[in-house]
C-alpha cells in the first residue's frame, strides 16, 4: 500500500503540480512576450530587473499589479463585475486538467477528452460578456459585444477542425489521440509521405485550429474587442489590480492550454523521435506548446488588426466551409484507405 493509492493524496499532488506548472509557464510566456516583441522591434526590452536579461521583470510587473487598488466603478453591477475574472480563470484551468504530459502523467484521461475541453473552454465567453456588461461603461459594452460575436463565430471552426482529428483517431480521449498518432497508420492512408508525429494528414485542420485559437484568445490580428485605439481596452477597461491580473493570467494560461491541445491533436503530443515518452514526455509536450506560443507572439507583432467585417467573413465564408470540407475528405479517406 503505497502513498499513491490514496485518492486524496493523488488529488492534492495533481492539483499542486497543475497550479505550479501553469503559473510558472504563464510567467515564462509573459517574459517571452516582452523579450520577443522587443527584439522584433529592434529594441532590447527589459534589461535591468534581476541583472541578466532582465529576467525578474515579470515578477516586478506581477507584484505591481497585485499592489494596485482593486477598483469597482460606481455604475458597475458589483457581484457580476467581481465574479467575471474568476469565471474566466476557472474556464481556462478546467481545460488544462485533461492535457496529457506523458502516458501516465495526466490529471484525468476522460473518454470524452477533447469534447470536454471544448465545452469547458466555451464558458469563458460568458465571463467576457459578464465583464463587458457589468462594467457600466459603453467602451466595455461594445468590447463585450464584439467579443461575443467573435467567440461565437470562431467556436464553430474550432470544433470542426477537431472533428477531423477525432474521425481519424477514432477516439476523443487525449491519450488515445496521441497514441493514434504514434502508429504509422494514423496519417491519411498509407499513401503519401510518412510524417510520424507531425501533422499526420490534418494540416488543413491544424491551420484552421490555430487561426480559431488566436481569435478565441482575442489576440492580434483578432483583438477588435480590446482594440485600444478605439475602445480603450474593451471589456477590460474598468478592471484594475488583481482582477485585471486574473484576466491577464487567464490569457497567458489560455495560450499555454490551447497550444498544448494543438500539440496533442496535431503534433503528436508527448512523442518525439528517439525520446522515451515516459521520461521526456512532459518536456517534449511543453516544448511543442511553447513553440506554438512563440508563433502566436510572432503573429501579434507582425500582423495588423483585422476589421470587424473581415473577421466575420473570414470565419463564416472561409474557415467554416473549409472545416466542413476537411471533415468530408477525412471521413471519405478514412473509409476508402
Amino acid at each position: 500500500m503505497s502513498l499513491l493509492d490514496n485518492v486524496w493524496v493523488v488529488l492534492a499532488l495533481k492539483l499542486g503540480i497543475a497550479v505550479v506548472v501553469v503559473f510558472a509557464v504563464a510567467l515564462v510566456i509573459m517574459f517571452a512576450e516582452l523579450k520577443v516583441s522587443a527584439h522584433m522591434q529592434h529594441r532590447v526590452g527589459p534589461y535591468f530587473a534581476g541583472g541578466r536579461w532582465g529576467w525578474a521583470q515579470v515578477f516586478a510587473e506581477a507584484l505591481k499589479f497585485l499592489q494596485k487598488e482593486d477598483l469597482t466603478p460606481r455604475d458597475a453591477d458589483r457581484p457580476v463585475f467581481r465574479l467575471a475574472p474568476m469565471v474566466s480563470l476557472l474556464a481556462t484551468f478546467a481545460v488544462i486538467v485533461i492535457i496529457p504530459l506523458s502516458p501516465k502523467l495526466v490529471a484525468v484521461d476522460l473518454d470524452l477528452g477533447i469534447f470536454y475541453a471544448l465545452a469547458a473552454g466555451s464558458v469563458s465567453t460568458i465571463a467576457i460578456l459578464m465583464a463587458g456588461w457589468s462594467s457600466g461603461s459603453k467602451y466595455s459594452l461594445i468590447g463585450g459585444l464584439r467579443a461575443g460575436a467573435q467567440l461565437i463565430a470562431y467556436e464553430l471552426p474550432l470544433v470542426l477542425a477537431v472533428v477531423g482529428v477525432v474521425i481519424q483517431a477514432g477516439t476523443m480521449s487525449m491519450v488515445g489521440i496521441t497514441e493514434a498518432q504514434a502508429q504509422p497508420l494514423f496519417h491519411l492512408g498509407s499513401v503519401g509521405i510518412s510524417l510520424p508525429y507531425v501533422l499526420a494528414g490534418q494540416i488543413v485542420g491544424f491551420v484552421i485550429f490555430m487561426i480559431a485559437v488566436l481569435a478565441e484568445l482575442v489576440r492580434i490580428p483578432f483583438d477588435m474587442p480590446i482594440a485600444e485605439q478605439e475602445l480603450v481596452m474593451g471589456y477590460l477597461t474598468e478592471y484594475s489590480g488583481i482582477r485585471f491580473t486574473m484576466f491577464l493570467l487567464g490569457e497567458y494560461a489560455g495560450m499555454l492550454a490551447m497550444s498544448a491541445i494543438a500539440a496533442v491533436l496535431f503534433l503528436g503530443g508527448y512523442h518525439f523521435w528517439g525520446l522515451n515518452a515516459d521520461w521526456f514526455g512532459p518536456f517534449v509536450l511543453l516544448g511543442k506548446a511553447l513553440l506554438l506560443v512563440f508563433v502566436m507572439i510572432w503573429f501579434r507583432w507582425t500582423w495588423p488588426r483585422l476589421r470587424e467585417d473581415q473577421l466575420q467573413s473570414l470565419a463564416w465564408r472561409w474557415l467554416v466551409p473549409l472545416g466542413l470540407a476537411n471533415i468530408a475528405v477525412t471521413a471519405v479517406l478514412k473509409v476508402v484507405l
Binding site: 457580476v80 473518454d111 469534447f115 465545452a119 469547458a120 466555451s122 460578456l129 456588461w133 460575436a149 461565437i152
Partner: protein, 174 residues
C-alpha cells in the same frame, strides 16, 4: 428504502444539493427584476442539469449541455440583450406580463405531463444501475437503433432554422 438509507448514500446527498441549487436558481430566473441577472442564474440552473447528467453517468450529454446551452444558447441570450437594451441595475420596464397566469398554467401542465410520462414508463422501482456510458456506445445507439428519430429531429431543427431566417429577413421587394 427509508429516508435514512436514502440520505446515507453520497450520490443522493449530491443530488439533493444540486437539486436545491437548481431550484433556487430557477426561482431567481423568474423573479429577478434584472434581465441579465436572470440569464446568469439560468447558467447556474443549466450547470445543475449538467451535473445531474454527470451523476447519472451520461458524460457526453452533460458536456453537450455545457457546450450547447451555456456556451451557445445563453451567450446568444446575453448578446441579444446587450444589442437591444442592456439594463444596468433595475430594468426600467416591468418584467411582468398580463398573461402570466395562463403561462404558469402551461408550465405546470408541461411539468405534470413529463413527470407522469417518465414515471409511467420507468415505474418507481430502482432500475439496474448503469455504469458510465462510453461515447462510442452512444454513437452506435444513435446511428443504428435510433437513426430514424435522430434524422427526424435534425430535419425539424433544420426546418425551424430556415423558418427563423425567413421570419427575420425582410423581403427586398417590400
Amino acid at each position: 428504502m427509508s429516508l435514512g438509507d436514502w440520505i446515507g448514500q453520497s450520490e443522493n446527498l449530491v443530488f439533493l444539493a444540486v437539486g436545491v441549487v437548481m431550484l433556487a436558481a430557477g426561482f431567481w430566473v423568474v423573479t429577478s427584476r434584472n434581465l441579465v441577472h436572470a440569464v446568469l442564474m439560468l447558467v447556474v440552473a443549466l450547470a445543475g442539469s449538467a451535473a445531474l447528467f454527470l451523476l447519472l453517468g451520461a458524460e457526453f450529454v452533460a458536456w453537450t449541455v455545457v457546450l450547447v446551452y451555456i456556451g451557445a444558447v445563453v451567450v446568444l441570450f446575453l448578446f441579444g440583450l446587450m444589442i437591444t437594451r442592456a439594463p444596468l441595475r433595475r430594468d426600467p420596464l416591468p418584467l411582468d406580463h398580463r398573461r402570466r397566469w395562463p403561462a404558469a398554467l402551461v408550465a405546470v401542465a408541461v411539468f405534470a405531463t413529463l413527470a407522469y410520462a417518465t414515471t409511467a414508463f420507468f415505474g418507481w422501482e430502482q432500475g439496474e444501475a448503469v455504469e458510465r456510458s462510453l461515447t462510442g456506445d452512444l454513437g452506435e445507439l444513435l446511428f443504428r437503433r435510433f437513426v430514424i428519430p435522430f434524422e427526424a429531429v435534425s430535419f425539424v431543427l433544420l426546418a425551424a432554422l430556415i423558418g427563423g431566417i425567413v421570419l427575420a429577413r425582410k423581403d427586398p421587394r417590400e
